[in-house]
């Protein structure tokens, strides 16, 4: 007795335990599967986190004419005429040792260090030096006291003329053997704009040349183009001119709208930043439009208060610092987004750390230094950039472009998802055009006309087709079908029509055959009769194709496409993808449609047939409309599959993100794009997150499609039950 009760107790305990385990486990599994979506979203969301800035500290320092901030933000180097270089800790202010040497004090003239830490200095003896400031840090050493400042002095050539202000200089690394770097300097002198090209290793001084220019223009700022061949000049009259420094002839010019105060470059030196006396801020580029280079206005930024005093680009991405006496801002070139804005207490110099995450301002009058930090991990992405047209560097107009990586460090990443979404839709469209009619007609035949034995053979065959690995389909599409289609595009396009023609021709003949024969071999088994017809169609097409190509297209369909339609033919194109992906989608649409069609209540079809309708009329007018929600639902599921298909698209198209509806071009879909780019995407970088965003979109989109399909199917099921 006791053993039974203890057994019962144990059984009860076990029951409770398993109930808890299974419920807990089930909820946990469902929860974690659904948490997938949240994780993907979590990885993508930091793209849209607004930039965060805060004031880090201030320091009272002697007045200076130039500041340079290293990337750690722990040290500041000041340049002044009387004292030369001076380094100190920030924000402590304790001085750091400075190597001796360099130009003789007091300096006659110098430029504030640019973003790379380069500065031109003319010493008391009139000798010109170039410095490239760097801190030499022992590995892993965080204490600035252990660092040494290396100014890397170069040059030392006596200058015949000491300009009143050096406007811009560019160090050009010499190509070819043996030549050192050359230096191009443009400066304003008492005679106007002058320039010189000299070498840092030169032993004798070089003549300064006057820049001839239109006397009605008064230059206020000038800058060298990246190759040093063109000189961009901004004038008091509000014009920007692209000059040949030798002849002074203008290649092109552009209206800025207000007197130009300063010029600068974003990273990569191809985007010219222009600031006006009233705070106008815009970007220009030299770009080829209609075969001619011209100076093109391509970005506008929110206006600043007061004259724009200068620019400093980040050495990491396309953000840049601009400042006026009362305001300092960091804007992003590509997205035109203002990432940082701070009020200033007077005119001075500002500097951006190489990584673009620290901003320093030195007040000219008081000498006080202020430092801000800026945390903006993904400034190159904005909602507008992902979904809208953007004017990129080197492009003549605003466009949708996807190009995530480039060969150089100063590459401007282009993250428009539009070409990818376009490619996805295009691939899906061609796949559905191919799959939908085939699958629905096939399902209609199977459910309404096929004999039961045939039906039992067809259904598993099609289900197997659904299970074919897409990599095999992709391989066939890319390596077998694409070359074949290239050879016989005309035949392939003619074939369906041949078959249709044959099918329509056969039917009347069939009707004349004796009833007994038809009953024994025909009705319900038409499919089997059609196999020889398909072969016959193949033979007919192989005869007709070349003839059509010769007569209608003048010999070669490719030249015909090129000349008559203006379309180029890619070997791996949308037709191939349409076939292969259609192949993957057909079984899905077929199975669900067939289920819906064959579940149409017998009472409906019997009533229709009893009223004298032919089987086809019944199928077309009664069964098909009744089951149409099921077919809709099948189409949705098929769409979902086509949208997310990766391997077929990856293998059967050229994966070029172009936007062109032509069936003879390829495309790049969201899914294929993820597969191509994510293995190379740095963890938690912008590309990585954009790809997660793409995955999120795919997830949501297919999930919605499938849910809609499921709901429609459930409603239809209830309707069938109620009939």
């Amino acid at each position: 007795m006791s053993s039974i009760s203890s057994n019962q107790a144990r059984a009860k305990r076990m029951d409770r335990f398993m109930a808890a385990t299974i419920s807990g486990g089930g909820i946990l599994i469902i929860g974690s599967v659904l948490a997938m979506l949240l994780f993907i979203l979590k990885e993508a969301l930091p793209l849209f986190i607004p930039p965060l800035s805060r004031a880090v500290g201030t320091l009272q320092a002697p007045r200076s004419g130039g500041v340079w901030l290293d990337e750690s933000g722990k040290t500041v180097v000041l340049l002044s005429q009387s004292e030369g270089l001076k380094a100190m800790r920030f924000p402590g202010g304790s001085p750091l040792p400075i190597p001796t040497g360099g130009p003789v004090l007091p300096w006659r003239s110098f430029t504030p260090p640019n973003a790379r830490g380069e500065s031109l200095i003319i010493g008391a003896d009139g000798r010109l030096f170039l410095t490239h400031l760097t801190w030499v840090k022992p590995p892993g050493e965080n204490d600035p006291a252990q660092w040494t400042l290396d100014p890397q002095w170069q040059g030392g050539l006596l200058q015949p003329l000491v300009p009143s202000a050096i406007l811009h200089f560019r160090v050009m690394e010499a190509g070819g053997l043996g030549g050192g770097s050359t230096l191009r300097i443009v400066a304003s002198t008492s005679e106007g704009l002058s320039w010189v090209e000299t070498s840092l290793e030169a032993t004798h001084s070089v003549e300064w040349k006057k820049v001839p220019h239109d006397p009605s223009l008064h230059p206020t700022a000038a800058a060298w183009s990246s190759d040093g061949r063109n000189l961009f000049v901004g004038t008091r009259e509000g014009r920007l001119v692209d000059l040949d420094p030798e002849t002074g002839s203008a290649f092109s010019s552009s209206e800025f709208g207000e007197p130009v105060q300063s010029l600068g470059f974003a990273l990569g030196q191809s985007s010219l930043l222009v600031g006006g006396v009233n705070g106008k801020l815009a970007a220009y580029q030299r770009v080829r439009v209609n075969e001619v280079y011209q100076l093109q206005h391509f970005h506008d930024f929110p206006r600043l208060n007061g004259p724009v005093l200068g620019f400093q680009p980040s050495q990491r991405d396309k953000r840049f610092l601009a400042w006026t006496p009362v305001q300092a801002v960091v804007d992003h070139l590509t997205t035109e987004r203002r990432m940082f804005s701070a009020e200033l207490d007077g005119p001075g110099l500002a500097a951006l750390a190489p990584r673009g995450d620290l901003i320093l301002h030195a007040n000219d009058t008081t000498g006080s230094l202020r430092l801000w930090s800026l945390d903006a991990p993904h400034p190159e992405v904005s909602f507008g950039l992902l979904w809208g047209k953007t004017h990129y560097e080197g492009y003549g107009k605003s466009e949708y472009v996807w190009q995530s990586t480039g060969g150089t460090d100063d590459f401007e990443p282009k993250f428009s998802l539009v070409p990818l979404v376009f490619g996805t839709l295009k691939g899906t469209l061609y796949a559905m055009l191919f799959a939908f009619p085939l699958a629905v007609l096939g399902a209609l035949y199977t459910s309404q006309f096929a004999s039961p034995r045939l039906r039992n053979a067809i259904k598993p065959t099609v289900e197997i087709m659904a299970a074919l690995p897409s990599v095999v389909l992709g391989f066939l599409a890319g390596l077998v079908m694409a070359p074949l289609l290239e050879k016989m595009a005309v035949e392939v396009l003619v074939y369906p029509f041949t078959i249709l023609l044959l099918a329509l021709l056969i039917a009347p003949f069939w009707g004349r055959l004796p009833q007994t024969f038809r009953n024994a071999f025909g009705d319900g088994r038409e499919v089997l009769w059609m196999f020889p017809v398909l072969l016959a169609g193949l033979w007919l097409t192989s005869l007709a194709g070349p003839w059509i190509e010769r007569v209608l297209m003048g010999g070669s369909y490719r030249t015909w496409l090129q000349t008559a339609m203006g379309v180029t033919y890619d070997q791996r194109n949308s037709l191939v993808v349409g076939f292969a992906m259609g192949f993957a989608v057909i079984p899905i649409i077929f199975t669900i449609s067939e289920d819906a069609l064959s579940s149409v209540p017998r009472s409906l079809t019997s009533a229709s047939l009893a009223c004298g309708a032919s089987p086809w009329q019944t199928a077309w007018r009664v069964v098909l409309p009744t089951a149409s929600p099921g077919i809709f639902s099948a189409t949705m599921v098929g769409l979902g599959r086509a949208i997310g298909e990766t391997m077929i698209v990856l293998m059967a198209t050229g994966n070029t993100p172009i936007m062109d509806w032509s069936p003879f071009n390829g495309m790049r879909t969201l899914a294929a794009n993820i597969a191509v780019e994510i293995p190379e995407a740095p963890l938690h970088g912008t590309l990585y997150r954009v790809l997660f965003l793409a995955a999120f979109l795919l997830f949501i989109f297919t999930f919605i499609l499938n849910t809609v399909a499921e709901l429609v199917r459930q409603r239809l099921r209830r309707r069938y039950e109620s009939i």
Binding site: G442, K487, A507
Partner: protein, 532 residues
Amino acid sequence: MSRLAEHFRRGGAFVWLSGTVLAFCLAMILGLVGFIAAKGMGYFWPSPLVQVQTPEGPVLGEITGREPARVEEPAKTQFRVGNRDIYGQDFRWVLSAGMGPLQYPKEALLIERLEYGPFIGRIVSLSHEGQQVATGSSALAEAEKRLPETLRIWRTIHAIEKGQVGDLNRRIERARLSRKKQESTADPAALQALDAKAAALQATYDQLQTSLEQSRAQSKAWTLSLQTADGQVKELPLGSVVRLVPANAMGRFDKLGVYLSRLWEFVADDPRESNTEGGIFPAIFGTVMMVLVMSVLVVPLGVITALYLREYAKQGWMVRAVRVAVNNLAGVPSIVFGVFGLGFFVYALGGTIDQLFFSDSLPTPTYGTGGILWASLTLALLTVPVVVVATEEALGAVPRSLREASLAMGATKWQTLWNIVIPSATPGILTGMILAIARGAGEVAPLMLTGVVKLAPSMPLDGTFPFFHLDRKFMHLGFHVYDVGFQSPNSEAAKPMVFMASFLLLLVVIILNLFALNLRRKLRERLGGSTF
């Protein structure tokens, strides 16, 4: 005319039309499977070596394609001429117009070798350490006699290189790591012991290398002197010959022998020449391992979820919504699962595991990079809906009377489930598992992100402790198809391999599916019910 119109109205023609469409679909499926089977299976049959005279000299090779004359282009024939080391490429198009009559020289020979693809030409003589032993056809006979011996030597070399050398390398690396760890504690005795161990390992390594050198020299002792169709001479050590195929002189049974031996090599050997030749055993093995780990993970997950949804959860709109959501996961693109696997399993989970347990070997990741565990987990997630749906269906189909009888006897709910319901639902669960395996075996996109590689240096299961290496990368049949077909520099020559790998993959998937479908059909016949 009116009869025709009447005919159209009643739609007899449209029945034919829809029948045609279906026939077309079926023809596509059967054609595809048949095409792949024929292309894949046919490749191993030794094809005749054809010699033709062309204006540029004689061409000897297998005919692999013909192109009829098109608008501007004359008819061409494609020859696989082999001899990549001499001609630079394996294939050659010959204008059919300038081609002389087809000849099938008896002495033509195809030699499969370890490098540069096949050699096609004639054998001139066989030498042993510089001494000519035989010439002409007797040289071929002699070479065939010597071949098994050299092959055996080659296999030992290969096995030593792969097994023992790799094993020693790993042990040396482990000794280095533990030394690095000990250095911080600076115990001189322990350090010395470690150094001695490392030295011993190094000595074994050197010894092994010497014996390898000897074997290599031995395998080079016999050399073949060969001549191509256009008279170029080539010396080839017998040690780098895999197989001699004088295709034109072979009878049907000889050819069958070659066929079977090639088939066996394909299934059981390692790949050679950046996967374009040899076998695909590691890919088959990797696929099987991955699928096994996946099913071990997916079945409990799926069954518990289904049990919860069907038996324990309170039925209501909430459970219906969850059910719809889980079903719909089956429609979420596989690449999305791959992205999740990469972000969550590999980087988040794997990165954490590395920091906690494998910080010695950082920055080289152990689990923080793709591996078979992460790939299997990702695929398990991907296939969970398949198992859930099948199991739920099976649970729902268990007759009410059975449960009620059990409960009426005083059994608890769990006892009823365990003893009555689950046993009768087993075929359904099995169906789900098989369908999941079939789906998982064919997926490639998520694996590309979570641990599949084109060439894995070592298998996920081997003789070194702990035998089963969940962190290792692996090869996969589907990825093999993608990689060899699309990333290989010589994809034309590799095409047959791709066909064969595709065929294998297709075969596995189709057999699994047929099995599952059959099981499900039987289950439904027994219990009734429909999917729609």
